[in-house]
């Protein structure tokens, strides 16, 4: 998933017709000062760190400025900050507005209903998780026929809007729905949607784009997510790779088996540190690449747990053996292998020839790798 920074989400809002404050993203204090001086950002203005984590207000990542020099100072103070692990590289400057009521609007997927849902609450401006369930109205939106008039009217009633404000809400809801569909979003959230005088204004944006629709959206390919550098490399190689806080590397195939392997290691007192899911490949080169990637993560020990289906055991064994020859001496690690399923015999034979023994029992093999990593009970 691609989480968009606030300013990117607001660019989408503008494109689809959700009103947002006049503003501009800057990447240096000088740029910020110039923007304020030239009038392209109204004064007084809000200076907001463009990080993905919430709670910026309380965390000092949102400031106010009344003059170009104050914009310079606030931007300088925020840029380069480390906010909940994210480094601030961009700052959004926006004209300050007089906020009346703060509302909440979002469209997200409800998996159980297998439907998008429109969420609306009159209690916006706070983390929606803190709002009582009863104060958030949820309406399933059927992709056919799309968001309807009666759904939009109900949202207006939920938000306590009538007259001109209800009339303004209507195109905002259409725009949110259009954005959700056309951009292949997982989540589109406006929090708060503020009543400013007689108008509605989206003061923040939260937009998450689905990865799988990447073939329709090359424009999101370059936007980096909160992945580690190794995770990023893995992503390019189409290998599911997740770094955790442990010292055992796990290479398995299939999400369920990988998770189960982590669970077993943890139950046995091990600490999984890298999670690498080969998925359904049967290309030995991909297996080799996965191993080399794992080596770079420098685990204490590696557990190879494969159940051959699409991925055949002999393919994995061949890839593994090739990788073992390429891993630099310094990066070598103790390896425990367990390969079962399709072409199991052939795979075991290839491993044996390279000096690796496959342990067929899951518990026994897991205990062995925990011991090899220096952990265990």
């Amino acid at each position: 998933m691609v989480k968009l920074a606030e300013w990117r989400g607001k660019e989408l809002f503008r494109k689809y017709g959700v009103p947002v404050p006049t503003g501009r993203v800057v990447r240096s204090a000088e740029e910020g000062e110039r923007a304020a001086a030239s009038g392209s950002v109204p004064l007084p203005c809000v200076v907001k760190a463009q990080v993905l984590a919430g709670g910026r207000g309380k965390g000092g990542a949102v400031r106010f400025a009344n003059s170009p020099s104050e914009v310079h100072a606030a931007t300088a103070a925020i840029l380069g900050l480390e906010f909940k692990g994210e480094k601030v590289r961009e700052v959004l400057l926006e004209g300050k507005v007089a906020i009346g009521r703060e509302l909440y609007l979002a469209i997200a997927l409800d998996r159980s209903l297998r439907s998008p849902v429109l969420m609306a609450s009159a209690e916006g401006g706070v983390e929606i998780e803190t709002v009582a369930d009863g104060a958030v109205d949820r309406q399933p939106i059927d992709p056919f026929p799309g968001i309807t008039g009666f759904e939009r009217r109900r949202a207006a009633r939920t938000l306590g809007l009538s007259g001109g404000l209800a009339n303004e809400l209507d195109p905002i809801l259409r725009a949110l729905w259009a954005l959700f569909q056309a951009e292949d979003a997982e989540l589109v959230e406006i929090n708060p949607l503020a009543v400013v005088g007689d108008h509605l204004l989206a003061l923040d944006s939260k937009v998450i784009i689905e990865d799988d629709a990447g073939f329709r959206h090359p424009e999101y390919a370059e936007i980096r997510d909160d992945r580690t550098p190794l995770e990023e490399i893995a992503r390019e190689k189409e290998i599911a790779f997740v770094q955790l806080d442990g010292n055992i590397g796990v290479i398995a195939n299939g999400a369920g088996l990988t998770m189960a392997t982590l669970d077993v290691l943890m139950e046995l007192g091990g600490k999984p540190g890298v999670f690498l899911d080969l998925g359904g490949t049967d290309d030995p080169k991909k297996v080799t690449e996965a191993f080399l990637l794992m080596a770079e993560a420098r685990p204490n020990a590696v557990f190879l747990n494969i159940f051959g289906g699409v991925t055949r055991c002999d393919t994995v064994a061949t890839g593994l053996v090739a990788a073992m020859r390429q891993v630099p001496e310094a990066n070598r690690f103790p390896l425990v292998a367990r390969i079962r399923g399709n072409n199991e015999k052939e795979g075991i034979e290839i491993l044996r020839a390279a000096g690796v023994t496959s342990v067929p029992d899951l518990r026994a093999s897991a205990e062995a790798v925990v011991a090899a990593a220096g952990g265990g009970r």
Binding site: M1, L109, R111, S112, R114, S115, P116, E129, D142, P143, F144, Q181, D184, E186, E210, D211, D212, A213, F215, R216, A240, V242, L244, A252, N253, G254, A255, G256, L257, T258, M259, A260, L262, D263, V264, L265, M266, E267, P272, F275, D277, G279, G280, I306, F307, G308, G309, V310, T311, R340, G341, N342, D361, L362, R363
Partner: protein, 294 residues
């Protein structure tokens, strides 16, 4: 009787000329499945593994009486493939393809439902009834005919567990891999009634994972409507919140969909919940032993 597939199942493989399509056509046939047709636009007239290839599903249905589809076509074209199958009158569609955008799947699901068709998947290993038919990619080696039903959101973990059941000397009635995506055509709750009604299923293995509330929904259903013994396993107890664990659906978001809530719900529903995957076949064997006439 079995669940959703049986000896009358006649499979058309969409994307048969691709590598996976070809390999699994052979595997399904080796399982004993009637694979009667393949479809790849522009390849009509050729054959794959002895199976005739057509340009369109409608042609395949008219010429071969295909009544189930196994879809291997790449994600960008999978929506069209499913719509084509349903439009041609296919009523069981197993979608193996992974990485289908969920927005596409929302359309596919609604179209299938409006036309009375069932989707299994996407991103799933499919369905198999040993001795009868297989539509999908679960390795043949793990099966043996028997009386244990299996429903799972996982792929290889299912193979592992199903294989374990076999190694304990037992067999399976029908095994369904639902797929690991956020939106699936068939959920636990959708599949459970078939196993409840199936006289060849004595007990059920349910393999879940973190993310969503499908297991909680299943527990609710089991508690009130499912009379057979259930053994369950939930993968992902070690997963940290906010990280996708391979499957697009396997993520703990906003504190929901944790292993703990799922285990607790299944426990309350009377299922036996295993801590380790290899405990599942053991528990199954114990239940079978306890029910066996002495």
């Amino acid at each position: 009787m079995s669940v959703l597939v049986d000896a009358s199942t006649r499979v058309v493989v969409q994307g048969i000329t691709g590598h996976q399509g070809t390999v699994h056509t052979a595997q399904m046939r080796a399982f004993g499945t009637h694979v009667v047709a393949g479809v790849t636009p522009g390849k009509a007239g050729s054959t794959v593994e002895g199976v005739p290839v057509f340009d369109a599903v409608r042609d395949a249905v008219e010429r071969t009486g295909a009544n189930a589809s196994c879809i291997f076509v790449p994600a960008p074209f999978a929506k069209d493939a499913l719509l084509e199958a349903v439009d041609a009158g296919i009523r069981l569609c197993v979608i193996v393809t992974e990485h289908i955008p969920f927005h596409d799947m929302l359309v596919m699901y609604r179209y299938a439902r409006a036309n009375g068709a069932r989707i299994i998947g996407p991103n799933c290993p499919g369905i198999a009834a040993p001795g009868k038919a297989k539509v999908g990619i679960i390795p043949n080696v793990v099966f043996r005919p028997g009386r244990v039903g299996v429903i799972s959101r996982s792929g290889t973990l299912t193979y592992e567990i199903v294989n374990g059941i076999k190694e304990h000397g037992l067999g399976q009635s029908t095994c369904i891999g639902l797929g690991g995506d956020p939106v699936v055509g068939t959920s636990f709750v959708d599949a459970l009634p078939f196993f409840e009604a199936d006289p060849e299923t004595d007990l059920l293995v349910l393999v879940g994972e973190i993310g969503g509330t499908a297991e909680e929904d299943a527990a609710e259903y089991i508690q009130h409507h499912f009379s057979k013994p259930v053994v369950a396993y939930i993968a992902g107890r070690a997963a940290p919140p906010g990280k996708r664990m391979g499957h697009a659906g396997a993520i703990i978001a906003r504190g929901r969909g944790t292993a703990a809530t799922k285990v607790a719900a299944l426990d309350r529903a009377g299922a036996r919940v295993a801590r380790f995957p290899y405990e599942v076949p053991q528990m199954v064997a114990e239940i079978v032993a306890a029910r066996a006439p002495r």
